[in-house]
Amino acid sequence: MLEKLSVDFVRKIFHILTNGNAKIKFHTICMQNRDREKAANRPVEFGLKLLGYNVWYRLPGIRNIPVGREIGKTYLTRKYLRLPVEDLSSEILENPSVVCDITDSLFLPVLEKKRFYQQVEHRLSCPGFAKIRFGLEKPCMKIDAIYKELSRIFQKQLSPQIELEMAAENFMPNRYIIRLLDIAAYHEITIHFVVDSSYPKEFYSKILKRNHICWDTLMVSCEEKKNKQEIVKGLGLEKYGVVSADFNHFIRPLHKLGGRSIYYRAPMQLMRDVWHPKLSEEFRDQYDAVCGAKVFSGKKRPSFAYELGYLCAGPFLYSLIPFLGEEDTVYYAASDSPFTRLAQAGCTTNGYIKLGSPVINLIDTGIDPEGFKNFVQRIQAHNPESRLRIVSLEKTAGINLEPLSCVFTGMDNELTRGILDFCQDFASCTHRSTISVSDGRALYTWGYGNICKLVHSDEGAFHAQATAV
């Protein structure tokens, strides 16, 4: 039936049904990506689904309910399936120029504005700073002018230097969009960066250079005295692509002016669009930012096991480590297990070691109770001068850790990789912020059922899960 309709007509209908709003645009593209041949193989079902998305994501109130998207319970990667960047690049290569608005696409913030200003307030030791700074945020006002005003209000000399340094650290470079633009640069597409910001151009050029990003022009609203949309209009481009996470204020108006829209839904937004367990507000913001950027940016297409490791088990193990003590701590875990990298402490199942400390913390990871007993005896025999302090990881956690034994035994699998990646990413992006055990436990509890299912299924099935998207 489909091949009898004119291609132009089908394209037009498709365009209407996939461009209603940001959610429709994103979710219809994901649906397509999940089964690239669906439109051809089952056109009726595909068409009805498109209609369904158009109805659901337009209904006020209803459209914000994340039906079928729960951390630890749903395989979210499959719901949020973006195109591989090399395939998406064909869209950017259609035109001789591209404009990109940097924030929420090329660089992803760890902390949102309000929380970021709170951190600055803390560093500046200036109570009340965050609220006033937030109020002064205007894209056409330069940072120097803002700080002049702040200095006047707080009756002391304040310099923007600290904020600029912290802002640079607050950005996580998005490898997916960096790659997309790098492909464009290789094909000699002109790249224009525009950004609504009170920070100077040098601030952005520095972080672009640091990430080896090529560009042709860079314009900042505070210097141009107009917003990013008006800056693009002023460029006088005829044929160009628009890469942005800002659907309503950038993609849509520029599309109306002839720009080819390449909508990139912000990874942080994707995390907000799912059900969470009850988490502390501060942790949740950081968690959403890091997990969104690292799992749902499009760079990876992780398996469900990896996703569970990253979103659920990783935060839990991360939350436990500070309670176990870092100095003179030996974990009863395989010496070549991935946990060695995470704990930054000795991991061994071999008790023939001499440590020479007056107090040695021995962490029972629960992987082999009988083996641990012998291990303790051997350690004591080789360290007669030391006092042994035995800590049970499971008792500290207050929840069954058996499904996570692979982390300590050295078995390399997707769950373990997810756990390790979370711990490394979270530590580096948040400057080693801690996670409360209750937050960690809440996430682990939500994913517990599926983690058990995956771990206890036979090995073949576990690996099949590990690769299937």
Binding site: L2, E3, E37, A40, N41, R42, P84, V85, E86, S89, R175, R179, D182, I183, A185, Y186, H187, R210, N211, H212, C214, K299, S335, D336, S337, P338, T340, R341, G346, C347, T348, N350, Y352, I353, K354, L355, G356, H382, G410, D412
Partner: protein, 489 residues
């Protein structure tokens, strides 16, 4: 009249040269899968090909159109009935589109028989000659099927069902570059045909014509600087489909194996996503669309070194290069292990210096191709009957051995805890320290040496140097130290 069917740029050159060399007097027809060129380039490309007069007709097989008509897509759990249904639909599409009597061709050559025309011929038991997908690929069936599976599951399922991809009873021969078969592989139906041999021995007079068609300009290579050609790969046919990983592999290989060379990059025709101008700013980047098999005919002199991760096209350059460095496909999945193998090779070199003799190296549970490449590049002296050294990736073997042995763990674990009862060890640690913006992460690669030859310890324990990896944006600090039990406490 003969008929060729193909889907890759390698096969196109292969078939053109084959047609010129082996069927010069006969007419020839050409069918190509439309995906061989991007949509907007197709018309012009066909016109250009027709104008050469090499083929009586050139037709693009409209695979996209067939896809819409073939019915449901297949997967590995599809039933026989479903598979046969799709095959029937494909055959019916091909039959009505083809509109020609295949029995009128004296020989039919089919490259990539997983596409519609190949399916039609296999399903109807039409005798034909199979043409391999890339140089020597017939010998790498497993790798080929893996790529096929990832590119199109439906085609893969049909290919398996019809016993295609170089295993069909209906194949009268399998045209392949036998010289590039992996060691030990044989196929009784293999019929050798090499582009390089044909162009140098059978039809050298046709070379200018071919170069003109591909727009290949002569490349003048100065005599002073040694030249290394780096052959890139198509991301979609690599094990890890991540541009960051591909970039890491590229920079690592160039840093380790092209130091001091003038670098020329030959991108795979479909490798259009990695920005080699940014990654390797001092390198000469050759055009994508020229086949690497033509490179020997454009350089003004033989080149010194060919380097690739695991591209099959290296075979085309091999006869023209003084030395070739290539790796097994393991490098695609575990590229960072290369650092550890480098540390191992450095230790072996030092061991030879300290012992004052060549080494007789044996290896187990370690990638021997990677080790061999580093031993060559570092010029580690080796000879039979020299100082016997075992290199192993197995901890158990290391612990149990009394001979001179190096333990180079295959996984990325951290330092091992060796027990008090064990002998003294030399620990050689490579610390990878990336600069800001590097794609690499900090990592440590530790290898251990155990030997009863006490006289070498002092010399070995002073090993310390830095390997600069400029394109990778990192430095590898290598240092050794003796682990004596008391020191660990």
């Amino acid at each position: 009249m003969v008929l060729y069917h193909l889907s890759t740029t390698y096969q196109l050159l292969y078939c053109i040269v084959h047609r010129m060399a082996r069927h010069p007097q006969e007419e020839a027809g050409l069918l190509m899968v439309e995906y061989i060129r991007p949509e907007k380039e197709r018309k012009e490309f066909i016109k250009k090909l027709e104008e050469t007069g090499w083929f009586s007709f050139v037709r693009l097989v409209p695979e996209n159109q067939f896809k819409l008509r073939r019915g449901a897509s297949l997967n590995e759990s599809s039933t026989t009935q479903e598979i046969e249904g799709v095959i029937r639909n494909v055959c019916s599409c091909v039959r009505s589109w083809l509109n020609m009597d295949l029995s009128s061709f004296s020989r039919i050559y089919i490259g990539s028989d997983q596409w519609s025309f190949g399916i039609y011929c296999l399903a109807n038991h039409i005798p034909h000659v199979y043409v391999e997908d890339a140089s020597g690929m017939l010998s790498q069936r497993e790798r080929y099927l893996k790529i096929l599976r990832e590119i199109s599951m439906t085609n893969y399922v049909i290919s398996q069902y019809l016993h295609g991809a170089g295993t069909s009873e209906d194949e009268i021969a399998r045209l392949s570059d036998v010289r590039n078969f992996i060691n030990g592989f044989t196929d009784e139906k293999a019929e050798n045909f090499s582009i390089y041999d044909a162009l140098t021995q059978e039809i050298p007079e046709r070379v200018p014509e071919l170069l003109a068609f591909y727009g290949a300009e002569p490349i003048s290579v100065e005599e002073e600087a040694p030249v290394c050609v780096f052959m890139t790969q198509y991301l979609k046919s690599m094990a890890v489909k991540d541009l960051d990983v591909q970039e890491q592999i590229t920079t690592m290989l160039v840093d380790y194996f092209a130091e001091g060379f003038r670098l020329i990059v030959k991108p795979h025709p479909k490798d259009i996503w990695l920005n080699y101008r940014r990654i390797l700013p001092r390198a000469v980047i050759l055009p994508h669309n020229m086949n690497s098999e033509l490179l020997p005919f454009v350089f003004s002199r033989p080149i010194d070194r060919v380097l690739t991760a695991s591209s099959t096209s290296v075979g085309g350059m091999a006869p023209f290069a003084k030395e070739v460095y290539q790796f097994t496909t393991e490098i695609e999945s575990f590229h960072e292990r290369l650092h550890r193998i480098y540390v191992t090779a450095v230790l072996l070199k030092r061991l030879s210096q300290c012992a004052g003799q060549a080494l007789d190296i044996s290896a187990s549970a370690i990638n021997t191709v990677q080790l061999e490449n580093f031993l060559r590049i570092l010029e580690v002296p080796r000879e039979k009957g020299g100082l016997a050294v075992k290199v192993t990736g197995e901890e158990e073997e290391f612990r149990g051995s009394e001979d001179t042995i190096i333990f180079s763990p295959s996984n990325a674990g951290e330092r091992r805890c060796f027990s008090v009862t064990e002998k003294n060890l030399l620990e050689v640690r490579g610390s990878l320290c990336p600069e800001e913006g590097s794609l690499f992460s900090p990592a440590e690669y530790t290898v251990y040496l155990s030997s009863a030859q006490k006289k070498i310890w002092d010399c070995l324990s002073s090993l310390a140097f830095v390997k600069n990896l400029p394109y990778s944006g990192a430095k590898l600090y290598i240092e050794s130290r003796l682990i004596i039990w008391e020191e660990k406490s």
